[in-house]
């Protein structure tokens, strides 16, 4: 039972054309930049992976991370809640040119659909979106006099997340608000790949402080000095 691998390229090697990839992060916090860039590198070298379906809260910021994937032409579709950010030019251009599909999901429904995917709940009801264009065509039902929309689970073939600490068993913790979507994405993916600033080789994370239990994590790779997406965007870095 060995989950740790030596490089980000090795960690993401099994992601292939058409994969659905859940990617942690909210704005720049929690974006697993090195894992994402390993996919961009492979695409540039081999033309693969392409036609990816990306699930994230946003649709890329600046010209790094998910934005770099979109700019490279690897992304077929994005499922997110907020593609319109101050630095979303790459997505905006691709969308205007019909080069990328968008499925817009309210943020809490996005979170709950992902959690449902991880928890074996194929569908659930929520008040969110009822009566709005984002619920068009979805089943509705009345419970206790209130109307709700039925939403379906959302799963991924892979999840890419940025952890603060991992132990060799695969337990994870996160830094501050970089946690955001990562724990539920780890649950909802067939295969979860985590980069961690620190991989404990002796000892393990205190069992009461574990945020993502090891059962949800398949592959870990140490990235000791990870980039922070917001910092890269503010420096106008281009990958």
């Amino acid at each position: 039972m060995r989950k740790q691998v030596g490089s980000v390229g090795e960690a993401t090697a099994s992601i292939n054309d058409g994969s659905r990839v859940l990617i942690g992060g909210f704005g720049g916090s929690g974006a697993p930049i090195e894992l994402i860039h390993s996919l961009v590198d492979r695409f540039r070298n081999t033309g693969s992976p392409t036609d990816l379906i990306i699930i994230n809260n946003n649709a890329g910021n600046g010209r790094v991370g998910i934005a770099a994937m979109i700019a490279a032409g690897m992304v077929k579709k994005i499922i997110c809640s907020f593609p319109r950010s101050s630095n979303a030019d790459v997505f905006n251009s691709a969308y205007a040119a019909n080069q990328i599909e968008l499925e817009l999901v309210p943020q809490g429904t996005l979170a709950e659909r992902i959690r449902a995917g991880g928890a074996g709940i194929p569908a659930f009801f929520t008040k969110t979106g009822y009566g709005t264009e984002l619920a068009d065509g979805k089943p509705t039902a009345c419970f206790d006099g209130d109307m709700y929309v039925q939403e379906r689970w959302l799963k991924g073939d892979f999840a890419l997340v940025k952890a603060q600490t991992a132990d060799r068993f695969g337990n994870l913790t996160y830094r501050f608000a970089a946690r955001n979507f990562a724990p539920i994405m780890c649950m909802a993916a067939s295969r979860t790949i985590a980069q961690a600033k620190d991989v404990l080789t002796d000892g393990s994370i205190h069992p009461e402080h574990v945020i993502t239990p090891s059962i949800f994590v398949d592959t870990i790779v140490e990235v000791a000095a990870p980039e922070q997406e917001e910092v890269l965007v503010r420096e106008e870095r281009v990958y």
Partner: protein
């Protein structure tokens, strides 16, 4: 008729802040609603929630001291206060959807007399982006809107029914505007406070549905904040 100028944005936020009780858990929408935190009355403790998984955050850090793993839903840098907690997005929206917040203060393009809110897009053009708006409208024991009373083009923002894409149905219980404080009850709009500089007739003429009177209407009094 010229649009009455009424309160500034910060003044509207100030008025909304006065109604947030001690001990409340509060979510402030992105933009003008964020100003509400600056006007929290002395002596009240309010715990602020942000969708990306933080309870108990405080002011922005000084420029240059930002930690970009510590941000709010508007992607602005924040600091945390004693008693803060981090949690994941499913727990964060459990707080919202489960009605655990006491108050949510949201911006508005239009509010209808049934309490419907339109605040996420102005039409079908451009890239749509909803974020947490549709969750937050059903996400607190009390959901209120703050907005200018009238759009820049002179159109009422308090309307019979929303013409912009809806964020949620029957969700707003009070609207704080540049001219008035208005409750929404089964009758429709009910005027509670009115800017002293506008008459009832003028206020009605800039409102897209009947403004009911039910009990006292007091003056909307707000400090200068200049």
């Amino acid at each position: 008729m010229a649009i009455p100028s009424g309160l500034s944005g910060p003044q509207i936020a100030w008025r909304a802040a006065q109604d947030i009780p001690d001990g409340a858990y509060v979510n402030l929408g992105i933009g003008l609603p964020e100003w509400v935190a600056r006007f929290q009355p002395e002596g009240r403790q309010v715990v602020y929630h942000t969708e990306n998984g933080v309870l108990g955050f405080g002011d922005a850090p000084k420029e240059g001291e930002e930690d970009w793993d510590l941000i709010n839903a508007g992607k602005k840098a924040i600091t945390i206060k004693p008693g803060a907690a981090f949690f994941d997005h499913s727990d964060s929206f459990a707080m919202v959807r489960g009605g655990h917040l006491d108050v949510a203060v949201l911006g508005a393009y239009q509010v209808s007399e049934k309490g419907d809110l339109a605040n996420w897009r102005l039409g079908s053009k451009g890239v749509p982006a909803v974020g947490g708006a549709m969750d937050l409208v059903h996400g607190a024991k009390r959901v209120v809107a703050i907005t200018d009373h009238v759009a820049k083009n002179g159109a009422p923002k308090l309307v019979g029914s929303c013409t912009f894409p809806l964020t949620g149905l029957n969700c707003i219980s009070r609207v704080y505007t540049s001219l008035a404080v208005v409750d929404i009850d089964p009758k429709g709009f009910v005027l509670r406070e009115k800017h002293a500089a506008v008459s009832l007739e003028t206020l009605q003429s800039f409102t897209g549905a009947p403004m009911h009177i039910d009990g006292a209407v007091t003056d909307l009094i707000v400090p200068d904040l200049a």
